[in-house]
């Protein structure tokens, strides 16, 4: 993590923006190459998971407070959307927007008291929250209202509009519109995350992570910094959850189960390099696409292969391999540019 964030010359910024612009161009043009519905769906999901990855990196990657409750926030946004839709008849397009603040509010209300807890206990406590939520949703009296294992069904995003289109293009329209919405969310999310992560506030979060007592003793209001950081992180997870759920009904506990919506982004953050934002972002695409590719190669053994790969990467380079590789690549690029 020993990274000099200071002194960025104009050329550095240009070189830094080029990979970003290339990635943006590739992701924008990719659907036009007729990649097929399956990969379009996968990429949509990966785009939205970028927001979760950033949510974890912005808070846990800088403060080293491992918030495992992110999957709760993600799933809660989905459930809020579905409940507003099913019980109050609010169309998906609007309930999606309403679900975001609701989910942020509940995440804060539930996890805020735990912010004073330090170290590994915070991680344990935050992991218990999604586990409890899964238990509540599947348990007898609540499962009747929350859909239980089968989940809550509702009309997916833009379905009414798609039905007005000729039958042949309906599915294509939905897939393409979802993809570009997810891409827009990912790009805007990334740019904002970068601005926050390397602002004075972002560095205050890092200061809290590096020496909380020192931060407090030298005048930083650590509690305020942690709460705001947590709020931003929850906002990212809520937006991702609401968008994801709106595109893939029904809403089930799969959204909250840590294995589905916490482990992949958390892995990206660690493999990518804590607090570096660009590293986790790249890792998010590399790892999740690798995971899907493995499906075609070795079928049901892919989970084991993927996990083994992860263990090897993390064991060899616990400090995050992707960011290091990125820095090397940038050095190389800078060499090319200066000649």
């Amino acid at each position: 993590m020993s990274v000099v964030f200071a002194k960025r010359s104009a050329k550095d910024l240009i070189v830094g923006k080029i990979p970003f612009l290339i990635a943006l161009a590739v992701l924008t043009l990719l659907p036009l190459l007729n990649v097929g519905g399956f990969w379009l769906d996968v990429l949509t999901k990966v785009n939205l998971f970028l927001l979760v990855t950033l949510a974890i990196d912005l808070y846990s990657g800088t403060t080293y407070y491992l918030n495992l409750g992110v999957s709760f926030t993600f799933g809660f946004a989905g459930y809020s959307l579905a409940l507003l839709n099913v019980y109050y008849g609010i169309p998906t397009e609007y309930s999606m927007l309403l679900a975001i603040p609701i989910s942020i509010f509940f995440s804060l209300a539930i996890l805020l008291p735990s912010l004073k807890i330090r170290g590994v206990y915070f991680a344990i406590l935050s992991l218990l929250v999604p586990i409890i939520f899964v238990g509540i949703v599947t348990a007898q009296p609540f499962s009747l209202y929350l859909g239980g294992e089968g989940g809550l069904r509702f009309k997916q995003l833009f379905l009414d509009f798609a039905r007005s289109l000729p039958p042949g293009v309906r599915l294509t329209f939905l897939q393409y519109s979802y993809y570009y919405i997810s891409l827009a969310a990912a790009v805007v999310g990334y740019v904002i995350a970068y601005k926050i992560g390397f602002s004075d506030f972002g560095f205050m979060l890092r200061a809290v992570g590096q020496d909380e007592e020192l931060a407090e003793g030298t005048g930083i209001n650590t509690l305020k910094v942690k709460v705001i950081g947590f709020l931003i992180s929850s906002a990212y997870a809520s937006v991702a959850g609401a968008l994801y759920a709106s595109m893939r009904p029904p809403v089930t506990v799969d959204l909250v189960v840590p294995a589905n919506t916490l482990i992949p982004p958390l892995t990206s953050v660690i493999v990518g390099g804590l607090g570096t934002l660009i590293g986790p972002a790249i890792a998010n695409y590399l790892l999740l696409l690798t995971y899907e590719l493995l499906w075609g190669l070795i079928g049901r053994w892919r989970v084991i292969a993927y996990m083994l790969l992860l263990i090897i990467i993390i064991t060899i380079k616990p400090q995050g391999i992707v960011f290091k590789a990125y820095v090397e690549a940038r050095k190389f690029l800078r060499g090319v540019f200066s000649e």
Partner: protein
């Protein structure tokens, strides 16, 4: 002679151990006040109590006559209490200028003012050439200077230094003394905790001696070192 910092019967217990037992101090505006004592005598705990990092069991802390016992550490920094920690504590993965600027940013609302104060503090402590470096690359003396810059940037009324001479060569210690004197003459009150008496005795106006959480003596340095109780504590331990 007006009091700037007062401790009234400050008591702090950790489990069964009494770290501070009814310690009272009165620091006068503009002086250099030393706190000495053997290891484990409660010196650092006292500084932590004044800075607000440790909650009191009993007693009060006053700044300029105002009761600040219930204030949080960052609120006390805003009121003008700055703290240098023991053992060169800095944020290891933030560049030097950010180590200072973050403090300034949390004290001054205005970004430009914070930046200006930061470059002033870095200039004063001679760190401008290393502003973009990570603290890992600094020498121990430069690290101390970084901590000093962090104190200066908050424009303090009173600065709490915990063993500022530890790990410095004699020449570097002289430079540190020069800096302390300079800012003292500019109106900053200093409270200095030190285990080694050599340097402290030269600059302190008054000294308090702690032993096992109790204040056993207070007065001018030359009087205190002749106090038989102090001699016994120091000879008995070292």
């Amino acid at each position: 002679m007006s009091e700037i910092l007062g401790c009234e019967k400050v008591t702090k217990k950790f489990g069964g151990l009494t770290a501070l037992n009814e310690v009272s101090l009165s620091v006068v505006k503009g002086e250099i006040f030393g706190i000495i004592g053997p290891n484990g005598s409660g010196k650092t705990t006292l500084l932590n109590v004044i800075a607000g990092l440790i909650r009191l069991d009993e007693g009060r802390i006053l700044l300029d006559g105002r009761d600040i016992t219930k204030l949080k550490p960052h609120e006390r920094v805003k009121l003008g209490i700055a703290r240098m920690f023991q053992g060169m504590r800095v944020f290891p993965y933030l560049p030097v200028y950010l180590n200072v600027e973050l403090v300034a940013r949390s004290i001054y609302g205005d970004v430009r003012l914070a930046r200006a104060r930061t470059s002033w503090a870095l200039t004063m402590s001679g760190l401008l050439p290393e502003a973009g470096e990570l603290p890992i690359r600094l020498t121990p003396y430069k690290l101390r200077m970084l901590e000093f810059a962090r104190i200066l940037v908050s424009n303090p009324k009173i600065a709490l230094l915990d063993e500022p001479f530890a790990g410095l060569t004699p020449d570097e210690a002289e430079a540190m003394i020069g800096l302390i004197r300079k800012f003292n003459s500019l109106g900053v009150t200093f409270v200095i905790v030190e285990h080694k008496l050599r340097y402290l005795m030269r600059i302190a106006n008054r000294v308090a001696v702690l032993n096992q959480g109790v204040k056993i003596a207070e007065g001018r340095p030359e009087d205190v070192v002749r106090n038989p109780q102090v001699i016994e504590v120091y000879l008995g331990v070292s």
